[in-house]
Assembly symmetry: C2
Homo-oligomer: 419 residues x 2
């Protein structure tokens, strides 16, 4: 490519640096060479690229799954580019004229405004407001008349539309597809025409729609149609399905530090690195180090997960909140296997010697066992815990204080009151 041949050595290194950041985590970039050319041109000219993301006007609560694309936008901003956030208010206002689609509920103007405000508040936890512009697609779409709409419709074919996975499936299953449904991808495509977007980012489920933007821009005699950057869909807490509010397997960025921390600790180990890569801002170098540490065994998965959880709380709340949430989690975790209400049981202070008592004696005193030999058996079975820690020697003398929890088996609990 000519543009690249003209780069100085320094510019070439800069190009490689930009590309390595942009490629991080992306499933596909279509077409890759057009991206390289756009970045190179921007480096030479100093002119920022316009990077577009469409937002669903009906679901304004952002969760970690959504932040995958927002993180990518932030990376673009850090490289000097501009972000275009499109709120599909026009699409939302229309809803589904047949009234049959659950995913296309009709929103009124107040809904749209409220949702937009919610978005704004949330996305600035990740994006740089100086390099972010919100757009409502009603601005251009509501001005279009029938003739404009027909001209837009002429830019795509029926066969191409029926290639979209969901349409293809419904068509072959003889489920009705109403003609207006073809316009959702066309409207999204026209947004890119109207905003002259250089790049559009989305999850892999947006591949068809984003490429339609490329097609429609091309048919509108654009010089360089937009590049699609397709990000993976992040699995939710269950480790299987795409994170989504309706499935309940999500971590919302507006959740409290404790909820956020706790939910993060529940994700499966095998997803941890994916979460780090896609939804945090740790550098590529840190990411590599972490990956190696886990692989070689000198980083414990549980510690890495604590790091991830703290990272999220730090990003969406603050550093002190992250520390507090960790502490809270430890407390909660230690008590996790305990029932809600544990009976208090008195241990007479004269049974203690310097605050200590043998385990045998403690268990007999509490009435949890019928004899020393019964106590011994329980300990050897691993059934006896003090404050969550298993006790292994029936003759050991342990220190007890008021508030300590003694457990035998799965059912017997006592909260000690000394005195």
């Amino acid at each position: 490519m000519d543009t690249i041949k003209q780069l100085s050595e320094g510019q070439k290194r800069e190009l490689e640096r930009h590309l390595s950041i942009i490629r991080r985590g992306a499933v596909e970039i279509i077409p890759e060479d057009a991206l390289v050319k756009k970045i190179a041109t921007s480096i030479v000219s100093g002119k920022p690229l316009r990077v577009k993301l469409g937002l669903d006007p009906s679901a304004p609560d952002i969760h970690i799954g959504h932040t995958v694309v927002l993180q990518k936008l932030r990376q673009f901003q850090d490289l000097g580019h501009e972000v275009q956030l499109i709120i599909g208010d026009f699409t939302g206002r229309i809803g589904d004229p047949t009234g049959k689609s659950e995913t296309r509920k009709q929103l009124n103007e107040d809904d749209v405004k409220r949702n937009a405000a919610t978005y704004e508040k949330q996305v600035y936890k990740i994006l740089d407001p100086q390099r972010t512009k919100f757009h409502f697609n009603s601005t251009w779409l509501e001005k279009m008349n029938f003739q404009d709409v027909l001209q837009l419709a002429a830019k795509a074919t029926v066969a191409r539309m029926l290639e979209r996975d969901d349409f293809a499936k419904r068509y072959s299953n003889n489920q009705p597809i109403h003609i207006h449904e073809f316009f959702y991808p066309l409207m999204q495509a026209y947004d890119s025409v109207s905003l002259e977007s250089d790049i559009e980012i989305g999850g892999t489920d947006q591949t068809f729609n984003i490429l339609m933007g490329r097609t429609v821009q091309g048919a509108s005699s654009f010089k360089d149609s937009q590049v699609a950057i397709l990000m993976p869909l992040l699995e939710g807490l269950d480790g299987n399905q795409k994170m989504s509010k309706s499935l309940g397997n999500y971590i919302g960025i507006d959740e409290t530090p404790n909820e956020m921390f706790g939910k993060t600790m529940s994700i499966p180990d095998n997803l941890m690195l994916k979460y780090f890569e896609l939804s945090t801002s740790i550098t590529n170098e840190e990411l590599l180090k972490l990956k190696q540490g886990l692989k070689e065994g000198h980083v414990h998965p549980r510690d890495a997960k604590v790091q991830l959880a703290k990272e999220f709380v730090r990003m969406y709340h603050s550093e002190p909140a992250a520390e507090q949430a960790e502490q809270h989690f430890i407390n909660v975790f230690q008590k996790r296997s305990l029932p809600e209400n544990i009976d208090e049981m008195h241990v007479r202070i004269d049974l203690l010697e310097e605050g200590n008592i043998s385990i045998n004696k403690l268990l007999v005193t509490l009435g949890f066992v019928s004899s020393n030999s019964d106590a011994r058996r329980s300990v050897f079975q691993g059934a006896v815990k003090l404050n969550g820690t298993k006790l292994l020697d029936p003759n050991e003398r342990v220190e007890i204080n008021s508030g300590d929890i003694v457990q035998v088996g799965k059912r017997k609990f006592a909260k000690i009151v000394v005195g």
Copy 2:
């Protein structure tokens, strides 16, 4: 049906009379019972029905093929109903945004106006201006915004559209169908919504589009969706293909009496009754009589065709013009097989006996044969004609006058000058 039960005996007879006129020539009426109900209601209420016909804004020259639907409209007018003629100027102005369709050329406003004026002049040769209203579909279509268009598009499904013959064929042959093409039937359908049409008339090639009007009216909560009355496509002069200007097999209603007469005389005999039924205003009784006459052989096909030709000239010109055209045709027909310029040849008057001369002698005199036996041979071969009539007996004496044409074989002609 309740409406029909409520009719008086007189009204029932009136209903039957109306229906027999409306059914004449129609291939299909969909649905038949809705038509019966609409006619019955109109008879009771005295309220005329609104009968719609869409006109192609790009082809304003009306030929006999087009008059099939116009005759049907005229029958409705004679029964007291109102005609709505829609000029698809909006559709015409858009043309085909892909620029690929020959049948969807883009028209400018002047084209549309000129074509509309042409239509108006022509259709009033058939329709009653008092009961005819012209509409331009731009009136309502150009007011529609994107949201309105989507609401219209939601009223039909992709699968249904792909049932239309031409779409089905193209889809299965992997030929592109651009999405805007789905809107031509939808716009035509919306015209029926906008005009609250009771009935739409068209050729059988319009079946899909007219039924789409029914669907869209129904989805727009119309009480009684329009009824489709589908007329046959009239074959052109070649007797095979649909009459059309581009094929050249048409009789234009603006053609001169002589052209009209001559072209009509050239249609195949087997189409004659179809032409009478569909494109003239002779009554059902006259039609039946003609049919029987032809069948039983006491009406010669050629005479019936002359009647048809005169009927057309009478309808689109005048009674005297019809007489003149017939005369002209006879003259032309008699001279049809003759070359443009025929040499005059003198026959001395003293060779005639009471104006007569034997054929042998005539041919020798003119120098067309070398001998009596040569003359005899030519006659027996059927090569000799006087004024287009074959002469069969070489010894026959025939009367000749100045101006008569004598022909031997394909090449030898003489115009006689006696004296």
